[in-house]
Symmetry: C2
């Protein structure tokens, strides 16, 4: 569905071309996005054996880092393109993020949502003044409906991760974190479609170009039950979720998505490692963060925390940053009550 | 139990004498306490009709503002007094706060706890290296046991709120908030023993002495089901919880305590208003903050939020700060699952 990867001369050239744009991206959106706080805990450091800083994107607008990418995509459009509005399909954070960004920009947003989407998410999108177009709850219906909406309105489709401007927007979370904590050895993110992970790679690359004395690495973390990014990195070929992984989905619902082509190009070029964790360890890590940090995080955010608590990250990294991706949780369906 | 109020020449003299000490208190403990972040939300502002900033003391060390007071009390002791250690009785945040502060100072702490205290709280106090002395679960047993411990060890008893240094420590939360948001018209706090409310009064008074252009007020908020501070202010005489309020306690368990004498002197001298809210509105407000801010707050913190959401605060205040007091919650006993 409209997945277009730019023709590239070489992966390294592509990255340096993209990473050069991180600074201008940050200049463009820094007055619109929240500069989110960074939290740490002595007890958590003792438990992990590293100094860990949590970049709290669960306090971002719409409660998730997704707002950064949506915001950059919306504010990067030419005025004539923007005038016709923006469109996407989403039952999750990306739809809210596009709706909110379009609302701030003062342009129409068309969000295709499945009929059975949670009422609270429908209300949130409505609250940002977006047009909601309901469809059946399957991928084909979503894509067909979106194609029709784009055709009828001329709105610009913003993909949740296979989009250069979205990736650059996501890069600004790691960019902010590195400026506050330039001594970091490693940044950990979850990986679903790969927008945040590839954006974080670009941020570090841009930071290195500016400050020669940093040697920060980046690593993706993924549920074993949705390990398509891990398999893609291992084989060098873009993989999808297996039928078993689709029928028995991970608790980390934000990561139940196939890795995108553009994010994979960046991840591959940078030889980025992916670490996988079990469902049980994700639930344990989620509750651990709720109890120790007093913050609400989604199961998807708990994936890098699980990797740290399970000691799956090599101890050579003394100072670690983690992007806490979002906090939109149904309080009536907490995973420790369901398992 | 060791409740000593200083002999005062006049209430106003007392306040100005105490408020002069806020700056030196902050200088003393600012490198030990966390400078906690402040959060806001457009949706919450729309819901309340004011611009509201939440000072997140649920991210303070031990997860509660209580660490500020405990820290100042411990670090204000002379070296000879400190050497014998500190003692208190507590089944809540104050015990953890004293244990942690003593641990940082490197002196012994003796915490009297009821036998039936939650295991997680016992483990936390142990984790800070404190000595725990168990007693029966009633006020007399707690006080008798504490008196024996103080007698045997020579440790210095630190009352949770009827203590000048504790109140000055609590003042530093509002002090930080005012420096970041000097345009505030009002600061709201919950009131239990009154340490935080009276401390916030001192902070504003100290701030006014430094910056003549501020006109910030302070107001206490209290559950109807524990309205002893409200009744004390109305009658001008220190009141206690009624038998009905003791037998049918508020969900805001941190506020199930009688107003202290020293805090009341300050509250009375400053003619501070107290606003009361229902149990139902506290539970609603607690869940509202969890969902909108993605932070975990105790029921006690939700009391000022309830006052705002119920429009019980006069609309003349456009810019309001709220001290979010703590986030130590049993995730297996959330109030919306119990009611």
């Amino acid at each position: 569905m409209c997945k277009t990867v730019q023709t590239l001369q070489s992966p390294i050239q592509m990255i340096s071309h993209l990473s050069e744009q991180v600074i201008t991206t940050y200049e463009k959106i820094s007055n619109i996005v929240h500069h989110t706080p960074v939290l740490s805990s002595t007890e958590f450091n003792l438990a992990t054996g590293s100094n860990v800083w949590l970049k709290c994107e669960n306090f971002q607008k719409v409660g998730a880092f997704k707002f950064r990418g949506a915001c950059n995509a919306v504010f990067s459009l030419t005025e004539s393109k923007a005038a016709k509005g923006v469109a996407t399909h989403s039952s999750g954070n990306h739809g809210q993020a596009i709706a909110k960004a379009a609302n701030i920009k003062g342009i129409p947003a068309y969000i295709v949502m499945p009929k059975n989407a949670p009422k609270v998410k429908i209300e949130a999108v409505k609250g940002y003044g977006a047009n909601i177009i309901f469809c059946d709850s399957n991928q084909k219906a979503r894509e067909d409906t979106l194609a029709r909406v784009v055709d009828e309105t001329g709105a610009y489709f913003i993909h949740p991760y296979d989009n250069k401007e979205v990736i650059l927007g996501q890069a600004t979370a790691a960019w902010e974190l590195l400026h506050e904590h330039p001594h970091l050895d490693l940044i950990l993110t979850p990986v679903g479609g790969g927008g945040l992970l590839s954006g974080s790679i670009l941020a570090i690359d841009a930071f290195k170009s500016n400050r020669k004395n940093t040697n920060c690495h980046v690593m993706g973390t993924e549920p074993e039950q949705a390990n398509d990014a891990y398999r893609s990195v291992q084989t060098g070929i873009l993989q999808s979720l297996s039928p078993e992984q689709i029928n028995n989905p991970t608790i980390a619902d934000g990561l139940r998505t196939n890795l995108g082509e553009l994010p994979f190009s960046i991840i591959k070029a940078f030889k980025t490692d992916i670490v996988c964790v079990s469902e049980e360890s994700i639930i344990h890590a989620m509750r651990y963060i709720w109890e120790r940090f007093n913050i609400i995080i989604e199961a998807s955010c708990a994936v890098p925390i699980a990797a740290l608590l399970e000691k799956k990250i090599t101890p050579k990294y003394a100072n670690i940053g983690v992007i806490i991706t979002g906090g939109n949780v149904d309080l009536d369906a907490l995973p420790w009550n369901r398992h």
